[in-house]
Amino acid sequence: MEGDIVQMGAYIGAGLACTGMGGAAVGVGHVVGNFLSGALRNPSAAGGQTATMFIGIAFSEALGIFSFLVALLLMFAV
């Protein structure tokens, strides 16, 4: 019985951890959207900044991946 409750909690937690994906989606969309709006105003400067954009994407995506990690830990390690 107690194990069942723990497992239920782990599954609910894994599901809740997936809401972190939404945060990562907002973050990545924000980075790329702002990059595009800047790039369309000054296209000549955009080429040199794509690397910076990808670094920004990677940093904001990392936190979404952390929520995925939490979900995996709850599913398989608890």
């Binding site: 690397a51 990808f54 670094i55 990677a58 990392a62 995925f68 990690l69």
Partner: protein
Amino acid sequence: MATETQSADAAAEGSSLVFHPMDQFIVKPLFSDGPVGMFTITNVTLWMALTVVAIIALLVLATSKRAVVPSRGQSIAELAYGFVYTMVEDVAGKDGVKYFPMIMTLFMFIVMANMLGLLPGAFTTTSHIAVTAVMAMAVFLFVTILGFWKNGLGFLSVFWISSAPLVLRPILALIEVISYFVRPVSHSIRLAGNMMAGHAVIKVFAAFAALLAISPFAILAITAIYALELLVAFIQAYVFAILTCVYLKDALHPHH
């Protein structure tokens, strides 16, 4: 035969999926049924070896003729070399070019492992945190040791942001220290998580393809996600390499 009975059982029970989407990540020994030890040859070993062979074929065999008008293989190798070289030069600066071979090695290994992993039936070695963590820890230790070696204790100024107001600096220093030590975690989990998630999604849609009503949609979805995964396979290798360059730049020039 075994899979047929399994799927029949699953269908009879009304189970959700015909096969488990995470089954593809199981490490299996190739030549025996025994436990996986330190030197057991597993499917991970096989696909890593194939990755290295593919890189050698691309970078050594394809460029061995060195024609003025390059063949397809040679132009791909030249493109990859030029791509990574400009990336290192742009992000890590002129002093960073000395460490170009390391970043080229990492980039080629990851991009080849990701691409080979997309072959149907292949094993994606980079989807395992054990594999990516070794690379990320190597980068982290290398960058930290290099930073202290080049700058001595001055390397600690990477945590002290001199452009911020003085009141905020201790707080920012604390945050910087935490984010510095999270680097190997995020560096490795990003690659492994992206690969694992993408392949699991493909497998989930592959399981949906067994249901007649939605199978056309599922097959279209697999095709679309496969195209996305090709992009992700390249972008994640690029991101891994470019973050290595960023860390390298921090080690070479710690002053903000």
